[in-house]
Amino acid sequence: MTAIENRSVVLDPEEARRVRQQRLEKIGSWVLPLAIMVVAVWFWDRICVWNDIPKYILPRPGVVVQTLQDDAPLLFSSLLVTLKITFLSLALAILGGVGLAVLFAQSKWVEMSFFPFAVILQVTPIVAIFPLINIYVDNQTAKLLLCAWIVAFFPILSNTTLGLNSVDRNLRDLFRLNGATRWQELWHLRLPAAMPYFLGGLKIAGGLSLIGAVVAEFVAGTSGQASGLASRIIEAGYRLNAPRLFAALILISLTGIVIFLVLSLLSHLILRRWHESALKQEA
């Protein structure tokens, strides 16, 4: 067992140095990126001041933050619209991706027959498909959803398929020996084994569904009350309202970061007890 007791032992210089190093790295991993960020923002501010750049070209960070506050009602209602599309499409991507993967896992023939279609759907740029979707689908929300879904579902499908197929051969033999049904094998063996792969795909899909939602809105060119952040950006661009453009951009980035962090945390919580990727390095 690796139950190392926490005793107050006298460390030799080498071990003491290692402990110090680890502590420094732990702090550094937070402080360094933050410090670089602060310096970058400060530099951005200085560039604006030193070069007398007008705010409709490059606003100072302070102005952007001010805009974020002033335009909050408008921006946040748009953010909600974008979030709705993002999460709905992510949910559909999970459903579709996992569902199709499970279907593929039932038979090599099904997988061989249909996987190429998924690849074609994936490699064709969504912007190029959109005019077609625009013709066939009337409902604005459905349009955007379909778009974001096409972008987001593939990593889940391909990762989950890989996971379902990479089960230890001996474990499959064990299930056969014990007379497991196809359903039992799927539920007790293949799905849990695919979990790390699925979560890896989910992390990618989370970001992609946001990108999909924004890109879809860009090409759809919606406007008016129920429009998302992408429309705000286009609008702000036309009006040379750079501060609002930056504010909207920051909101989108923050959303992406939050999605990534939440999915990383979810993945960690699910895998922490057993999967190598979630284990802390043991000295």
Binding site: M1, T2, L174, F175, G179, R273, W274, H275
Partner: protein
């Protein structure tokens, strides 16, 4: 202790018809490799049979045939009577545990697949865990265990359905010697308590002599039975047996047979 030995002898005589017979069994893989050729072999009830041989002699293939994980190309395997699928337990070369499931859940698995609920399975699972001295680790996950402990879980899992035949495919090959000796002792103890029939694949002469009542020496290319030896040493066998001259002598003889078997392979080459 003597009583136990007597019991075992009794059961050996009672089961005069073999529990399982290989009748001219051959297995050819699709790539043209002849894994087994005309194998005739009887396994009697209560036997501890070791299949000993160099790699490529088809011993693992023979085990998979018994487990019905594979079917023979020629000949057939005859069971004494129609035994259900439940009669066989299998221990793989690696522990082959579900990494996400606790030790308890891993041992529960064979019962769970047969529709036994957690509550109903608990006494059987806990008893098996106690048998392999892991009753305090029911909630641990495999990665928290040492290699030897994982193997114990694997054995407990194979035994939880009370199989008539326990098949083991070089289960201790990856363990260090101290752990292997310990597990050898524990396995024999379990065998004497549960009185199952054991078919044990190994490439270690010492291990096969220590454990078996019979050693089947196999030769490679094509895989076949070379010699069927009875190990004339009483059970229970313990550390004293391991250091005895009888043991050394038996090992020497088995080792000689094995080297002849390995030479035989060279001679039969075209």
């Amino acid at each position: 202790m003597l009583q136990k030995v007597a019991d075992r002898d009794d059961s050996g005589q009672r089961g005069t018809a073999p529990l399982l017979s290989f009748k001219g069994v051959g297995k050819v893989f699709s790539n043209g490799v002849t894994a087994l050729d005309d194998v005739n072999l009887d396994v009697r009830e209560g036997d501890f049979v070791s299949l000993l041989g160099p790699s490529g002699c088809g011993k693992s293939t023979a085990l998979r045939l018994i487990a019905r994980l594979s079917t023979p190309t020629s000949g057939q395997l005859e069971w004494r009577k129609a035994l259900g699928d439940d009669c066989v337990g299998f221990v793989f070369q690696e522990p082959t545990l579900l990494p996400w499931a606790s030790v308890f859940d891993n041992v529960w698995l064979p019962l769970r697949l047969r529709g036994v609920s957690r509550l109903k399975a608990t006494p059987a699972v806990m008893e098996m865990l106690a048998r392999v001295h892991l009753e305090n680790f029911a909630d641990a996950v495999p990665r928290e265990l040492s290699g030897g402990m994982k193997m114990r879980v694997s054995i407990a899992r194979a035994m939880v359905t009370k199989p008539r035949v326990l098949l083991m495919d070089e289960p201790f090959a990856a363990l260090d010697e101290i752990t292997r000796f310990k597990l050898n002792n524990d396995l024999l103890e379990l065998w004497q308590q549960e009185r199952f029939t054991a078919v044990f694949v190994t490439h270690s002469v010492f291990e096969s002599v220590f454990l078996s009542s019979r050693i089947v020496v196999m030769a490679a290319k094509p895989g076949r039975v070379f010699r069927d030896m009875t190990v004339d040493a009483p059970y229970p066998r313990d550390e004293a047996f391991r250091t005895s001259s009888t043991y050394a002598e038996l090992c020497r003889r088995t080792s000689d047979e094995l080297s002849v078997a390995m030479d035989a392979r060279v001679e039969t080459r075209p």
